[in-house]
Symmetry: C2
Subunit: 345 residues, 2 copies
DNA sequence: TCAATTTGCACAAACGTTTACAAAAAATAA
DNA sequence: TTATTTTTTGTAAACGTTTGTGCAAATTGA
């Protein structure tokens, strides 16, 4: 017995009920009253639809309506809890409104990012939410001009006229570095992520400003690293720890970087916070379970996800062009036990 | 200036080139040689397509072909690294073959799961990969009989004739409990997940078998809990810790459970492994960074994801019905520092 | 030169919806 | 009775593809 996918269509229902597909369509899309379908007819059609377990074909629907009630989400790494949380909240919101979510993991590769977006464009998604891999944005430019709806998350391109949502990287880092300084630290290593991208730039600015505020001379060699990944965290930490005089504190500018840092510090046989203090950007469920519980800058991931979806819907549901906006989400310093109070001044 | 999404169609290209849409379609779908299109014509068409930046409308294509080159993925919580990793690998494989991935987070709610699947069905996905929420599977039954292609991950329903992939929960737990016993433990608490589901059942069976093997009498009251979530881990651990005599070891049957357990243990002011030993099912990137590094049962998440996709493709690409198979992926015990050697016998 | 073959391409239908337009049937008015 | 209005439903085109079929034009063979 070979299973055959037998689709129930409007036509099928219309035949069973002895009415036209038009009528069926109108009934089933809730336009019965508007088009003055007889109550009797409406009931019959609905009953048959239920009986046959009818589900509308969104492909056909999308083709006709020129919209698909689905959106695309492209992000660098869904296994990174930061992005996963954002994705989760987008999925939840989308589901509420009956939207489907097309997901693509760009694997930190701009080529795949571009590719994914093109695939999705083919699928006539109604809009995009993108967490861009890096600093490249030419592919968005062109794209955006073609009238595609889009929201950029966790990155900001001043030259791109597109609504964006980012955390307050600048203030977030300042708060962290301030806290280091308040605790007597002045030799503070900063492990940065991807070079030349807005997020990284803002965080570095924060670092510099915090030092400046407290009249601590900037030592460029203490800013190190080139990626938001764990490997960079590991390597950069190793390097920082072998500087002499050694840094007394390290600011890890991502959750993955701090993971690598933790590994390196542990390998070097050093103890946090006695031998080295650590603060990480982006709080994680395990942050307070580490030894010692790690001081982190918390980001409003859930809200970022929800907001991104909302911003996209706003674009989709308006005819007029929405004034481009950049939403900056506040961060918060969670003080735990990974920063030691020292007397070095 | 209002942006208008101007779509480039086959028709448009055909007009520009002075040929029929048929020809354009054939050229662009790589059937030029097969249909003996003149090299010259082919070149012109391709050039124009590129010039106009043509992307085929997959909605129209899907409608005509009755397949969409997209698959649906439904899972209980994309923010859980276990599922996120599976999702990532599915996304990667799908992308390689030009498939799109529809994602839905069912939020551990069977109603949403069912709903999501229906949405996706409307979208004519070519198949499904589902990590079911719980023990309910009626909705799959019906569904599967209609000829939908599907793969079940991380759960197994003996009564459902559907290819499935699970970790070797039974052996995995046995290995863990064995290790506890080898280290002198005999009062071992087991924090279980969702009741009455295959994964949980298998893990409990493993627990019982391991004890039995070593002639340790089973104490049912040491099996506790009702969900794979963190909250249950926390509560159950609290309860276990207040038993007297106290358990010397706890087996947490999920990554989230162990997170909760860690929190509870820390709150109680107890030290791992001195006061209590702990093993967790499912390794995480931070597992070895905890204090102490946590002994875990590692699951082949990447392979599970890749395999799930492959299994689905096998179904999609064959006419014959594939013999239902359950693939059991081996697990491995990673011994770290969360189990204490005690002399209690 | 003419038939047979090959080459190159187009026509038209189909996929399952939605919707502008309009028509038939019923009810009401005159 | 006939004209008018209201109620209820239907016809057909369109969305952008793919593809079975068929038909010219060009080429070849005799």
């Amino acid at each position: 017995m070979s299973k055959v996918k037998k689709i129930v269509t409007l036509k099928r229902i219309s035949e069973e009920c002895g009415v036209s597909t038009t009528t069926v369509s109108r009934v089933l899309s809730g336009q019965a009253t508007q088009y003055r379908i007889k109550k009797e007819t409406e009931k019959i059609v609905k009953k048959m639809a239920k009986k046959l377990n009818y589900v509308p074909n969104q492909l056909a629907r999308g083709l006709r309506l020129k919209r698909s009630f689905s959106i695309g989400l492209v992000l660098p790494d869904i296994a990174n809890p930061f992005f996963a949380t954002i994705a989760k909240n987008i999925s939840i919101e989308a589901h509420k409104l009956g939207y489907s979510l097309l997901l693509s993991d760009s694997q930190d590769d701009t080529k795949i990012e571009i590719n994914s977006i093109n695939y999705m464009k083919n699928r006539v998604v109604d809009g995009f939410i993108v967490c861009p891999v890096g600093q490249q944005f030419d592919h968005f430019l062109n794209f955006f001009d073609q009238g595609e709806k889009m929201v950029i998350v966790d990155r900001y391109f001043p030259d791109l006229n597109c609504p964006s949502i980012i955390s307050d990287n600048y203030k977030g880092v300042i708060e962290g570095i301030d806290y280091f300084i308040e605790n007597g630290h002045s030799r503070i290593g900063f492990i940065q992520g991807e070079l030349n991208n807005s997020v990284n730039d803002e965080r570095i600015q924060g670092y510099k400003e915090a030092l400046n505020k407290h009249n601590i001379p900037l030592n460029d060699s203490l800013i190190i690293g080139d990626s938001f990944g764990e490997r960079n965290g590991y390597i950069s930490t190793k390097l920082l720890l072998h500087r002499s005089p050694r840094v007394t504190a390290i600011f890890a500018s991502s959750n993955l970087i701090s993971l690598g840092a933790l590994r390196a510090i542990s390998e070097e046989g050093l103890k946090i916070p006695d031998d080295i203090s650590l603060i990480s950007f982006d709080d994680q469920p395990y942050s307070d379970l580490l030894n010692p519980p790690m001081t982190t800058i918390i980001q409003q991931k859930e809200e970022i996800g929800k907001l991104a979806f909302k911003l996209l819907m706003d674009q989709i549901n308006t005819k007029e062009i929405i004034k481009t906006q950049v939403i900056v989400m506040p961060t918060k310093l969670i003080k735990r036990k990974s920063v030691k109070r020292i007397n070095e001044y």
